[in-house]
Amino acid sequence: MALLEVAAVTKVYGLLEALGGVDLKVEAGSFHGLIGPNGSGKSTLLKSIAGAHYPTTGTITFDGVDITTMPPYQRARNGLSLKFQITAVLTEMSVYDNVLLALQSMETPLSLLRSRSRRSLDGEIMHALDRFRLADRADDLAGELSHGEQQWLEIAMALAPRPKLLLLDEPTAGMSPEERRVTGELLAPIKQQCALVIVEHDLDFIKSICDRLTVLDQGRVLGEGTVADIERDSRVQEIYTSRV
């Protein structure tokens, strides 16, 4: 059984059908890219998986559990983690506290009140920051980081609770070419830790890190397969050459 199975999911806003019966399977440990032109439904699908909104019809199964109408906090506790399209780091907190907040999320309020894990999580926090080249910024406010660093911090936060599946919504948006290259390098080792579903406009970036791609167009799946399969697909070439 696949780690994530999306079956016949639709999402309708009034008269607009954002998703029209989308199927998607993501295997454990694989990097899966969602591509397609603007308005094709990529972010809507990702948000449906994360629980930011619920599908109109269809089912989403994660790790054998039906999560179609599960609230976001429960999905997170089941091992789903999301990095928002617009950076959502907590700018008034230190970089360190942002990761602490992500790491301690499974603890009970009573345990947090007693601050029992603050010291024991220090090594894990510094390791997470070290991995994304932010260790020396630990005591700075998150709001003082550059845009690219904030994106890295958010990925570090999303990865900190050791999710089974990480959902990344345009992680390189607004980054310089150098920052994108570094981001690719930073994401590559994640494969040993969890599966990844990534929405990204930069095709070169997504092809460099993903095993499989799903192409969406007008809320429907246009094609699915390995990077090589998709590159050969004439329908995909057509939408990218004519509309992007």
Binding site: Y73, S94, Y96, L101, Q104, S105, D130
Partner: protein, 347 residues
């Protein structure tokens, strides 16, 4: 990153940490010293001891609002509801059961405030849909208003006249009347509540509350049950308001419908915003400043007729041009968050 670089970075971080000024603890200590010294300084002025006792009791109400708004982003216009109901409960226990032992009635008042606020939290915060800030503000305001109207028409609790000649608070055979002894009980209550609240907001749970205040949605995607955390804090704040209400009733010897109405709820909001919400000590300073200013202005012959207008203008100016309150002038936003924004490494 190699070990040498990492060590250098840690040194830099340590140096940076030591440069962070911690202003709040100093302010807290000064305030504690002033409040402890008050009975000594005002020993020949019993009316001022009475005034300061009222101020300390109302500070508890202001702290309860600060926990809601300043630390958890819950705009509560209903703190007086828990204050007033608990005040009525201790008054009725005194009247009907002839019992007013503080070791039982003050915890009872906290229980009443806590249960009532838990019920309101279940209704306003724990529904299927995530409540908006406006919904919560209007819900708490409506609760406060409805309770005031209900009590004003209920003969058993004295209707519009309220309950007067409330049995004095006692400890064994000792009766607490206005004065230094009552002030000591009120101040002890404030110190205990303050320390408990301080533990809460400076704990890892306090960090969660700070996160909720900044970006509720982000916290939910981390796996936090945001509304449960809010409900817990709201209930704790309700129990503090209950304690405050009981002490107020005992001290005044009277309680009335207005003690649970929107007027007092809004006053608690103003105390907090004026002093600086999200600091705990700010609302205490706000309460002292506003009540002393009111006392002085009301006692000044030249402006006795229109002192509320002057007070209103002063409050408006502070809220408009200094939204972080008086303490915002000296306390950074960062110091108000979690562990003062300074990380706690391994021992």
């Amino acid at each position: 990153m190699n070990v040498a670089t990492r060590t250098t970075n840690m040194k830099t971080s340590s140096a940076r940490r030591t440069r962070l000024l911690r202003v709040l603890p100093a302010i807290e200590l000064v305030m504690l010293a002033l409040l402890v010294a008050t009975p000594l300084v005002l020993s020949g002025r019993p009316e001022l001891i009475t005034l300061m006792t009222n101020i300390v009791i109302l500070s508890l109400l202001a702290v309860s609002f600060d926990l809601c708004w300043g630390f958890s982003g819950i705009m509560s216009f209903g703190q007086a509801l828990f204050f007033g109901v608990a005040g009525y409960v201790v008054a009725l226990v005194g009247r009907d059961l002839e019992f007013s032992q503080l070791w039982a009635t003050l915890p009872l008042a906290m229980l009443v405030g806590g249960l009532l606020s838990s019920g309101m939290a279940a209704f306003l915060l724990l529904g299927k849909k995530t409540p908006t800030a406006i919904f919560v503000a209007l819900g708490t305001l409506t609760g406060s208003y409805a309770a005031e109207r209900l009590v004003a028409g209920w003969q058993y609790v004295g209707a519009g006249n309220g309950l007067s000649a409330i049995k004095l608070m006692t400890l064994g055979s000792y009766e607490f009347v206005e004065g230094v002894e009552f002030y000591s009980v009120a101040l002890s209550s404030l110190v205990i509540v303050y320390l408990a609240s301080r533990v809460l907001v400076r704990s890892q749970m306090g960090l969660v509350l700070a996160g909720i205040r900044q970006n509720e949605e982000r916290l939910a995607f981390f796996g936090y049950r945001v509304q449960v955390y809010k409900a817990l804090v709201f209930s704790f704040a309700g129990s503090i308001a209950g304690l405050s209400g009981a002490l107020y009733s005992y001290h005044q010897g009277f309680t009335g419908p207005s003690n649970m109405g929107p007027g007092l709820s809004t006053t608690a909001v103003i105390y907090s915003l004026f002093g600086g919400s999200g600091t705990l000590i700010g609302p205490v300073i706000g309460t002292i400043a506003i009540e002393l200013l009111s006392y002085v202005l009301a006692d000044t012959d030249a402006i006795r007729q229109f002192w509320p207008v002057i007070l209103g203008i002063v409050l408006l100016v502070v809220v408009m041009f200094q939204p972080t309150g008086l303490l915002g002038l000296v306390v950074s936003a960062r110091e108000r968050i979690g562990s003062y924004g300074i990380r706690k490494g391994p021992r």
